[in-house]
């Protein structure tokens, strides 16, 4: 019996997260119908994430082979959803445990320390929990120490990163109502600092005319499809028709094949997003409800698009500047001996846009441009450096995209190495 509980129930991450949702729903005294549907949907969310990973890894593998054949270096597509989904078969249980225990640490820190933030961006909590689970496991930790140390690191991330940004968030929103809880913090902080040094905040982006036609890229599915189609076809042209049709596509036309692989990748991301949405739908409100009771007078730390309406022009300028930096970095990375990070429209849109808003708040137009450009460099080089440490994990072709994941991953791996654990 104990064996069934320990290995089959707690060892099945989908059931584990379902249990967390169940407890959360019961604590909120929800009606029985809501308890049943909420619990089932949470379990299903986890299963859907796995299904999305299965769709996407095939095309990732093909992209890797084409890229390698074309340029003789490894090409990596940074995508938080993809790597987290792919890692769940191996690190699912520890990810789920670190996620929930990390939320408890967050509440305790908000209750008892001056860091009064509650981190409500549930998908980023999940991704960070996965990164921590993976890096600590590589460092040789397992069992209770893995979860305990992981939860403390995650809880600290959930209050310290919003705290670092809060002075700048106040400048943007003109209030102290909420904080930003998004693991692109280092990029935003650097952007705001660059803006302060080199910009002039009186010359704001919001006085200039910016074409709104790029707004359709805010649609994640469109942005992922478009980038992947472009990159797949460019790489296919370099890899050559004969190689692809002989080795990969089984004879079908190499351009049509590449197009379909690109859309398959985007479809996988869409499936994973739907799964993550279901997975966190019950856990985040429960977390918020408990936090408001246990730790009153705290600030919610929210996803980065919550600041976009405060400077819509900076959003577009920031995205473009960050993406240009990503494209330049793509050519610089192999020169310094790192793997090539293919710039994705999605990470550059979300973190580049937010960096633009931060840069604009401290340094106006020039701040938004230079700050977001710095962010683009950071989210290209940090994931490439992280890959050196994550190499042994066998996650091929993808890695974490946003800056803080890379920083935390590199820190954990280096500290464990220093102690001789790895």
């Amino acid at each position: 019996m104990l064996d069934i509980i320990m290995n089959d129930i707690l060892g099945t991450p989908a059931i584990l997260v379902g249990l967390f949702a169940l407890v959360g729903l019961l604590l909120q005294r929800k009606a029985i119908a809501e308890v049943v549907s909420g619990t089932l949907k949470t379990v299903m969310g986890f299963v859907i994430i796995g299904a999305g990973a299965a769709v996407l890894t095939g095309s990732l593998d093909i992209f890797g082979k084409m890229f390698d054949h074309a340029f003789n270096v490894e090409g990596i597509i940074p995508n938080n959803e993809a790597i987290t989904a792919a890692a769940q078969s191996e690190f699912g249980t520890s990810t789920a445990l670190i996620m929930v225990c990390g939320m408890i640490v967050n509440i305790l820190l908000a209750r008892f320390t001056p860091f009064k933030y509650i981190f409500l961006t549930g998908h980023h909590t999940l991704f960070m929990a996965c990164l921590i689970a993976a890096t600590l496991s590589v460092g040789g930790l397992h069992g209770v120490p893995l979860v305990a140390i992981g939860a403390v690191i995650l809880g600290l991330c959930m209050v310290l990163f919003p705290a670092i940004l809060q002075p700048y968030v106040r400048q943007i929103t003109g209030s102290d109502d909420f904080a930003i809880g998004h693991f692109g913090t280092i990029g935003y902080f650097v952007s705001a600092t660059v803006g302060k040094w080199f910009g002039n905040k009186n010359k704001t982006t919001e006085e200039i005319k910016v074409p709104k036609s790029l707004g359709f890229l805010r649609d994640t599915s469109v942005a992922v499809s478009l980038t992947m189609v472009l990159f797949f076809i460019i790489v296919a042209l370099f890899a050559g028709r004969s190689f692809i049709e002989a080795e990969l596509s089984g004879g079908s036309n190499f351009i049509v094949f590449s197009f379909m692989q690109a859309i398959t990748f985007a479809a996988g991301v869409y499936i994973i997003l739907a799964g993550v949405r279901m997975l966190i739908a019950e856990i985040v409100p429960a977390f918020k409800g408990i936090a408001e009771k246990v730790a009153p007078n705290t600030k919610p730390a929210l996803d980065c698009p919550t600041i976009f309406p405060f400077a819509p022009n900076a959003v577009i300028i920031g995205f473009l500047a960050s993406f240009v930096a990503g494209l330049l970095s793509m050519f610089l990375l192999p020169v310094v001996g790192l793997k090539v990070i293919v710039p994705g429209l999605v990470p550059h849109f979300f973190t580049g846009a937010a960096a633009g808003v931060f840069g604009n708040a401290t340094g106006g137009r020039r701040g938004a441009m230079l700050g977001a450009f710095a962010n683009g460099i950071i989210i290209s080089f940090i994931p490439a450096i992280l890959l050196i440490f994550m190499g042994e994990l066998g996650f091929e072709g993808t890695t974490f995209g946003d800056s803080d994941f890379g920083i935390i991953g590199i820190l954990i791996a280096s500290i464990l190495k220093a102690f001789g654990a790895a």
Binding site: T121, D219, L273, R277, A281, D303, T306
Partner: protein, 87 residues
């Protein structure tokens, strides 16, 4: 009455807005079904009101949908005043 809150990914900011819309409705003594999703899915979802940032829900505006745009997603008074006319 169904209210759909929309953002680019359908994960973070729309989820927060959904919780705020529910809070605003409760304060106004109204009931409605509230859900959140991403922009792609929102195009095929039926709802009475679509809420989000202007650059997101603006893309859903085909002349027949009821669109509500928010400046400060955390402002309950703003949500209340903008929803009031549509309920």
């Amino acid at each position: 009455m169904k209210i759909m809150v929309v953002c680019g990914n359908g994960l973070g900011s729309s989820f927060i807005m959904e919780m705020n819309v529910k809070k605003a409705l409760a304060e106004m003594g109204k009931t409605a079904e509230v859900d959140h999703t991403d922009l792609t899915s929102a195009r095929t979802v039926q709802a009475n009101i679509y809420i989000g940032a202007a650059d997101i829900v603006g893309q859903l505006d085909d002349g027949s949908r009821t669109i509500v745009t928010l400046e400060n997603m955390m402002s309950i008074p703003e949500i209340k005043s903008k929803l009031e006319t549509h309920l």
